[in-house]
Amino acid sequence: MAGKISPLPAKALATEARVIDTEPYYEPCGNEVALFEAAYASQLPVLLKGPTGCGKTRFIEHMAWKLKRPLVTVSCHDDLTAADLVGRYLITSNETVWVDGPLAHAVRAGAICYLDEVVEARRDTTVVIHPLADDRRVLPMEKHGELLQAPPEFLLAMSYNPGYQSVLKELKQSTRQRFVAIDFAYPDAALEEKIIATESGTKAATASALVRLAHMTRNLKGNGLDEGASTRLLVHAAKLIARGIPATTACHSAIAEALSDDPEMLRAIDEFVSSVF
């Protein structure tokens, strides 16, 4: 019965520092590129603020490509400890070996280290972030007995979504005041249409309808929705539409269901969809 499963040729990516050689698509909304470059040149760490799916991660990939630096991305979660970032001893057949964590690796490689959703990480991670993020630019590696001085090429970047209205997910002042903060908002309508069309290969009319839909959902922020539809969701819907899924189905699955579980809210979003298409 069971057919042979041939291994798929998955592309192996280096788990740590990734060198980006093709230009990731990114449309600047304002002066963020110049700001980032200036911060990089001045060896200042960068904090990217903005709602989910507005292009923070894409921006950092684009900048890594532009500055020709490897990129180390760490998706923070609530079990992420300082040791996970710095490194730890592992044991091989008859010795213990120190293995660098992603942050230490990035410092050594002079890479851009991007801590995605940093508020999710445990509080003790600030111990290693703080000395790296001020003018000392050092990474203390207590267990290894080493103090790593960051080269000028190294840059620490973090992302943070101020939209979470939870007191527990707030960035401490002592942390946030070390960073140059770049605020990301959703792009304006014309730009967002262009982004959707470019990313998904869909028609301009579809992209424009999707943007109108997004604006309607963003109008509901605080009136039943925690967050409006992000550019990322629009791209998802556009990709489904480009593959021949009817717009109403695509938007229901990619946008409405992604935004809410409330039946009446789903109905309202579906009504938006049937109005704009």
Binding site: R88, I91, N94, D262, A268, S275, V276, F277
Partner: protein
């Protein structure tokens, strides 16, 4: 056993008696009696009974009902007739005799119901439509019902029921079209012109108004169609043809209300306004509302910008002229009516906070631009804004006066869902200690549930997370040398190297604070109260094992001026005899005004530092209060709003209820999963601790 039906003469006597205030020499009871005579005895009684009921409100309504009832009885069943009567009376209450009696006279729409059309009612779609127009408008608009759809630009009035099309979906689409059209009237400048004087010059102003309404509808449909092609498609399908060629000029992208008025002059004699299911009425009230709003918002904007200036430049002296330092550049309107703008302060772009953005957006929607004098310190506007604030605070003035001297009173806002904003400082709340009762209640309870408590403690012990070092882990922060040594010997003796060689610190992550909010309303009297108290004893026993921080408060109240929170156990209090005696002393009080209690307890919870904060309500029914309309929708919506606020503050609300009708309203309040129903009150004491365990495991 059927009694004989009443004769015409008997009926005439009865009707003469019932309707005498509205009968005269020219209008006698005879024709009514003639109509009622052929009905069955039951039907006659039904009609007479309802005439009596309706007469309590208005005799003329009673007469109109009597006149329409025989025809209705032929077409409708009893249930449908009752809905019909109730709707007529609702309309009468809201809009007066003329509209109310119209409902009785227009039985035609009701026969559509009887013929099997699937009616769409306002009530079932109100929330969806509310969300829909909020998405369109970018600001919440109120929805309400009226016989004829119209808007004053702040509230959209929709028919209570639509049964024009055979299917429900079709009738809903008419609701959607109506809501969109009414929104568009405000959005695309229908009220920029003085509509009343535009129609006044015609021989028949009412006819002119109807035609103007139609022309505006044509203009707005074209506008809507460009941004919302889906709605345009529905309109074409419903209209069943193209629009009249003579109106074509109005479909141009830049057509204004002025063009509609020009065309009105040209077409007044030659065109009758067609009557569609989505025909709306234009009322001059809209202009008054719009003017009032524009004035109010100018003041509010001035005030908000002054605050913004203070925030951005703390050196600004309070009251200094700051408006001139702002600049607002509005781009031309996009197809969907949204207008982009940029706010500048001292020449630098500034991201406006949400409320400022909404205000500017609202002004732009009304005026299309920010007039120059908005950013000049004219003074008068700002003072108007001050006056506005004062009137809002006046609402609470009487509450202030009566309690001004009482220490420890807290003031809370309350959500008015009809007005869609908060009543400021509406509720007065005080914290009171429960009077301790020196009974054996706690000891008795412990005795009664002795064996269950042992079990309970055991199951809670399992939950207890401790800060400890986990050994022999596959991954961890440090090396486990004991494991390494033994592994090394195994390796030397030819075995494989085990991989569990690390230690990992497992932190106690039960960083949890929970507040129990206990219903102490009068309805809990008796065994419910006993069950509540027993539940609390069991809970305390279990929570002491677990080490979670917890507090218990009761709530009750009588009107908004006497909301009370009863302290049973504070967070910083140990579970001691005093607490036990207070649990024993819980006695039913008055009513359940839940919103204010949730707001107060959320505030208490927020003073506690914990990773997870839970607010668990033990309740026996809907929010309710004596007088001031808290019962029903108002109370539910206020409670819902309070829960949304709690959620935003990082508090997770949960509700344990014994109300078997909870399914009807709790999902609306707490969401589909954050509540549970214990249908057997006797099992409550055992259940509550168990629910808590599952909730926090």
């Amino acid at each position: 056993m059927a009694e004989a039906r009443l004769t015409e003469a008997e009926l005439r006597d009865r009707l003469d008696y019932l309707l005498s205030p509205v009968l005269s020499a020219r209008r006698t009871a005879a024709p009514l009696a003639q109509l009622l005579a052929p009905l069955t005895r039951e039907q006659q009684h039904f009609v007479l009974h309802w005439i009596e009921v309706i007469n309590r409100s208005n005799y003329e309504m009673g007469y109109q009902f009597a006149a329409a009832a025989p025809a209705a009885l032929v077409r409708l069943d009893a249930a449908a007739i009752e809905t019909w009567i109730i709707e007529a009376m609702d309309t009468y209450d809201r809009e007066g005799l003329h509209r109310g009696s119209e409902v009785f006279r227009q039985i035609g729409t009701w026969t559509a119901v009887a013929a099997g059309a699937e009616t769409a009612t306002f009530d079932e779609y109100a929330h969806v439509l509310e969300l829909f127009v909020c998405g369109l408008a970018g600001r919440p608009l109120n929805l309400d019902t009226a016989a004829e759809p119209w808007t004053d630009t702040e509230t959209l009035y929709l028919p209570p029921r639509i049964a024009t099309l055979p299917t429900k979906a079709g009738n809903f689409s008419i609701y959607k079209i109506l809501a969109t059209l009414l929104w568009a009237q405000g959005r695309f400048g229908t009220f920029h012109a003085d509509l009343k004087s535009a129609c006044a010059g015609f021989a028949d102003p009412a006819r002119a108004a109807a035609l103007l309404s139609h022309l505006e509808s044509v203009r707005l449909e074209a506008r809507i169609g460009r941004a919302l092609p889906g709605i345009a498609r529905d309109l074409v399908r419903l209209r069943g043809g193209e629009i009249d060629a003579r109106c074509a000029a109005l479909t141009a992208a830049d057509a204004t209300v002025g063009d509609s008025i020009t065309l009105l002059h040209r077409l007044y004699d030659v065109l009758d306004a067609p009557r569609y299911a989505w025909t709306t009425k234009l009322r001059p009230t809209a202009q008054k509302m719009r003017d009032a709003r524009i004035k109010r918002e100018q003041g509010e904007l001035a005030r908000a910008l002054a605050e913004l200036a203070q925030e951005n430049d703390p050196g600004t002296a309070p009251g200094a002229a700051t408006l001139e330092r702002f600049q607002i550049d509005a781009a031309s309107a996009a197809a969907d009516g949204s207008i982009d703008f940029e706010l500048q302060f001292d020449g630098a772009p500034l991201a406006p906070p949400d409320h400022v953005r909404q205000l500017i957006d609202s002004v732009l929607q009304d005026l299309g631009d920010i007039p120059d004098d908005y950013l000049q310190a004219a003074g008068s506007a700002a003072y108007d804004a001050g006056a506005q604030v004062n009137t809002e605070e006046d609402e609470s003035a009487d509450a202030w006066h009566s309690l001004q001297h009482e220490a420890g009173a807290h003031f809370y806002n309350e959500w008015d869902h009809k007005r869609r904003h908060y009543r400021k400082n509406w509720c007065v709340l005080r914290e009171i200690d429960v009077k301790p009762a020196s009974s054996d209640f706690v000891a008795d309870t412990l005795n009664k549930y002795r064996s269950q408590i042992v079990q309970l403690r055991r199951s809670f012990e399992l939950l207890r997370g401790e800060d400890k070092m986990l050994k022999r882990q596959a991954a961890g922060d440090d090396i486990d040398f004991d494991a390494l040594v033994s592994a090394y010997t195994e390796l030397k003796s030819g075995h494989e190297l085990p991989d569990r060689l690390f230690t990992r610190r497992h932190k106690n992550e039960r960083d949890l604070a929970v507040l129990f909010m206990v219903d102490m309303s009068g309805s809990t009297k008796g065994w419910i109260n006993d069950a509540e108290r027993e539940s609390l004893v069991m809970l305390c026993e279990a929570l002491e094992v677990l080490g979670d921080r917890y507090a218990i408060y009761g709530f009750s109240g009588l009107t908004r001026k006497r909301c009370e929170i009863y302290r049973i156990k504070r967070f910083d209090e140990p579970y001691d005899d005093a607490v036990r005696q207070r649990i024993a002393g819980i006695t039913p009080q008055d009513y359940t005004r839940m919103g204010v209690a949730i707001r107060h307890l959320t505030r208490l919870l927020n003073e506690i530092e914990a990773r997870t904060k839970l607010l668990i309500t033990l309740s026996d029914g809907k929010p309710d209060d004596y007088s001031d309309n808290y019962r029903g929708e108002y109370g539910i919506e206020d409670t819902r709003q309070a829960l949304i606020e709690a959620h935003r503050a990082g508090v997770k609300p949960f509700c344990i209820t014994i109300d078997s009708e909870a399914r009807d309203y709790l999902p609306h309040l707490y969401g589909p999963v954050n509540w549970t129903l214990v249908d057997d009150v006797k099992r409550l004491p055992l259940k509550v601790a168990d629910i808590y365990r599952r909730l926090t495991a």
